[in-house]
């Protein structure tokens, strides 16, 4: 057949082409412009409330203009801006902790969740304990973390890992449970062993939920990190926020908060990108469906 070659190469769309295709669709869609409008409304409202009309309690908040001026100031009033190396040290310490915590919680949470979903016996042993520990807030663990782990870094990483582990494990378990019963049955019909079913069906079948879990997990890691850093450590965005509170430097608090927001947003976007890369089948289905 003359067209076999052509159509089979059409089947092999590369990840890069897929990315460019989606990017061009994204730019042509209303999404990016709505996003800009959303940001404009948010910052505009903040600006009007705090700096222009000075409405009631908002008057005591620093406005966005004030924050921006300080942030881009080569000689910052409170010693913290894009031009001071300290700012990057804070960001980098936080990022490193989140990275460690995220890697640990993924390495533990994904297998744990897979077994929770896969083995009923395992679930019956462990799930109730898991569910009892899960609602305990990270802050409640602080004293124990300090007693259990040596140094400044490890307790913070432990606290950060904790909440993201729950998110990853729980979503992974739900992912396994969401798999259509027909898939493992079909695999068994085709001669797959139990272990092969686990590898070829359970793991890839749970992947969409796993990545939802990882996106939640990386977000949760950021907010538990900030809480943990308020307790221990001498660097990090959480520490910066607390220290600025003590020193009554509200502008710096907001610089710290926005920084957490931006880095957190970027890290969950990275996780989403990794998910798309690992789940080409899903990306292509969505692209075909004309999806979101």
């Amino acid at each position: 057949m003359a067209n076999t070659r052509q159509s089979s190469s059409a089947g092999e769309i590369g990840a890069w082409d897929m990315f460019m295709y989606r990017l061009s669709r994204w730019i042509k869609s209303p999404t990016p412009y709505l996003m800009l409008v959303g940001f404009a409304l948010f910052f505009g409202a903040w600006f009007l409330l705090s700096e222009v009309f000075k409405v009631w309690r908002f008057a005591s908040l620093p406005g966005p203009r004030q924050v921006l001026i300080e942030w881009f100031n080569p000689n910052p009033v409170y010693g913290m801006s894009l031009y001071t190396p300290d700012f990057y040290v804070h960001i980098w310490s936080s990022m490193r902790r989140v990275l460690y915590a995220f890697l640990i919680s993924t390495a533990l949470g994904v297998p744990f969740g897979l077994f929770l979903g896969w083995s009923r016996v395992f679930r019956e042993y462990t799930f109730p304990v898991f569910e009892m520990l899960r609602p305990i807030p990270v802050l409640a663990w602080v004293p124990l973390a300090i007693v259990m782990f040596k140094g400044d870094e490890t307790p913070v990483i432990f606290l950060t890992t904790l909440a993201s582990f729950y998110a990853t494990a729980l979503n992974t378990m739900l992912g396994v449970q969401s798999i259509d019963e027909a898939y493992p049955r079909a695999a068994a019909c085709l001669g797959a062993s139990k272990w092969q079913i686990f590898r070829h069906i359970v793991v890839p079948g749970a992947l969409p939920f796993i990545f939802t879990g990882l996106q939640i997990s990386v977000g949760v890691a950021w907010f538990s990190l900030v809480a943990a850093e308020m307790v221990s450590g001498e660097y990090g965005l959480g520490y910066l926020i607390l220290a600025s509170y003590v020193n009554v430097q509200y502008v710096v608090i907001i610089i710290g908060m926005i920084s957490v927001g931006i880095v957190g947003y970027a890290s969950s976007a990275l996780v989403r990108l990794a998910g798309d890369y690992m789940m080409q089948w899903r990306v292509r289905e969505l692209a075909l469906g004309g999806g979101r």
Binding site: E12, R185, A186, A187, C189, A192, Q196, R284
Partner: protein, 280 residues
């Protein structure tokens, strides 16, 4: 060319006095009772009955997804399940094609088709891919090997799934209303495609449906089942010679057979409706 003669050696299913009782909340439900049916090697046996009559229960027992509570099922004289072993092991000699399709969406069509021989350790990746490519081309599926199932039409998906089953040289194909979700035009194309595949591959087909036209068009025999408990009420020999194509549908003999089936099935459908049974 008579496909049944070519393949008269393997794939005989003997269903002997099979019972299946479910323990539901409202008590025991007899899904299948004293059901006996002999399926000849290489034949297309259509199992017809109203929704929820228990025909899928029978298929699940043959496939090894569920146990039976009485009787026995043999494949080529070997017991699949019976008094000592209520549940058969699923295996590549009896491959199921599912109602809603069970191609693995995370594998390409080619990987799906090659899956069986690879996991069984019968072939290496390369060899299996080579054979899969050939079989897909035979079934008119050249060009979609590297697409994911989600990227091709539902009719194509069904064909890929049937080819995936045939890759294992099964003795029996178990089809559970595989074309139910297709529109009627696609369905008619699939019927001819299935027959074409069948004429090339010697295999027994156990085909569940509640579409009478489908049953008579495809089957050598049509077994009309009673509803709850499920057992054959009437077995109809379809004496229209194979190979068949869609012109059969307008033949007078086809109409006669339809009439014969309709009244038998209708009675059961009314009973099922009155009992208000849900799909199991």
């Amino acid at each position: 060319m008579n496909a049944r003669n070519q393949s008269a050696t393997k794939g005989a299913i003997r269903i002997e006095h099979v019972d299946k009782v479910y323990h539901a909340r409202e008590g025991e439900v007899q899904a299948v009772a004293d059901c006996s049916l002999d399926i000849r090697p290489g034949e297309i046996c259509m199992i017809v009955g109203p929704s929820g009559c228990g025909k899928t229960t029978l298929l699940n027992a043959i496939a090894g997804f569920h146990d039976i509570t009485g009787g026995a099922i043999y494949l080529d004289g070997e017991m699949l399940c019976g008094p000592d072993r209520p549940k058969a092991d699923p295996g590549p000699d009896r491959v199921v094609v599912f109602q809603n399709g069970a191609l693995f969406p995370w594998k390409t069509n080619l990987e799906n088709v090659a899956f069986g021989p690879v996991v069984q350790g019968k072939m290496g990746q390369k060899e299996a891919a080579e054979k899969a490519r050939g079989m897909m081309a035979d079934a008119g599926l050249a060009g979609v090997e590297h697409n994911y199932p989600g990227e091709v039409s539902s009719g194509m998906r069904r064909r890929v799934e049937i080819v995936r089953a045939l890759m294992n040289d099964p003795k029996v194909l178990l089809l559970d209303e595989p074309f139910r979700a297709l529109d009627s035009l696609t369905k008619s194309v699939m019927h001819e495609a299935l027959l074409e595949i069948y004429y090339k591959n010697k295999v027994t087909i156990f085909f569940i449906t509640h579409d009478l036209e489908e049953a008579i068009f495809l089957g050598h025999r049509v077994a009309i089942m009673t509803t709850r408990p499920c057992r054959p009420k009437k077995i109809l020999e379809v004496d229209i010679p194979h190979p068949r194509n869609y012109s059969v549908l307008t033949s007078p003999r086809f109409r006669e057979l339809m009439e014969e089936t309709v009244s038998a099935v209708h009675e059961e459908a009314v009973k099922a409706f009155e009992a208000g049974e849900k799909e199991m």
